[in-house]
């Protein structure tokens, strides 16, 4: 399985500001995914990020609010823009198992609190 590192692990931010979350993988992967886990709710896919192309966003998520970069096959960033308290959540980076494409592996997550 891939080793996935996320930074920061947690942050407390003022409303109206933006936070960029970094995700580094120890092997090259085609697809990287960003999820949100709100308190008491299931993991929800925000977007899929392929290297060299625009991210694909799920219903309810837009690029202006959650811009994503994917500059190479081992790195991605998710920015949470113009934050409000409703954005308080855990944000998780994920990759599909190299060579198998089914099982997803996750980073440790970024716990974001917006005050």
């Amino acid at each position: 399985s891939a080793v996935i590192s996320q930074k920061p692990s947690r942050d407390i931010c003022q409303r109206g500001t933006s936070l960029t979350i970094q995700c580094q993988v120890d092997s090259q992967v085609t697809m990287m995914f960003w999820y949100r886990q709100q308190p008491g709710q299931s993991l929800t896919l925000i977007a899929t990020a392929n290297q060299g192309s625009e991210a694909t966003y799920e219903s309810g998520f837009v690029i202006d609010k959650f811009p994503i970069s994917r500059p190479n096959l081992t790195f991605s960033t998710l920015t949470v823009s113009n934050m409000s308290p409703e954005d308080s959540s855990i944000y998780l980076c994920s990759v599909a198992s190299p060579g198998r494409g089914t099982e997803a592996f996750f980073g440790q997550g970024t716990r974001l609190t917006v005050v």
Binding site: L92, A96, E103, A104, F105
Partner: protein, 112 residues
């Protein structure tokens, strides 16, 4: 729309008291059903993938089974270190990448 429902929401067991967690799902053709374990403050840890009804997989005290409508995660003689939230997810058939749809999880607490 693909859906996953997990029950119970929370389960408290005594050490050694076996039990099962349930994952009911509706999906337009199942590509795979996944079980994850999530500890507080950490990302989900992959446990099992099941692909077809009748399939079973085991890992230490955990055994996952699959039918056409649900999956069970059986925990035999649990220990306190098995305490965690257990998540179920499904992936539908289709061309290219199909996203995982997760349930809300079962919080398991095993007391010594």
């Amino acid at each position: 729309e693909d859906q996953v429902t997990q029950s119970p929401e929370a389960l408290r067991l005594q050490e050694g008291e076996s039990s099962s967690l349930n994952c009911s799902y509706t999906v337009s053709g199942l590509r795979g059903l996944f079980w994850y374990r999530q500890d507080p403050g950490k990302g989900p840890e992959f446990l099992f993938t099941l692909y077809s009804a009748g399939e079973e997989k085991e890992k230490e005290r955990l055994k996952a089974t699959l039918t056409k409508k649900e999956s069970f995660l059986h925990i035999t003689a649990p220990k306190p270190e098995d305490s965690a939230t257990y998540l179920c997810a499904v992936q539908a058939l289709g061309t290219g990448f199909q996203k995982l749809v997760f349930g809300t999880g079962t919080r398991l607490l095993v007391s010594p």
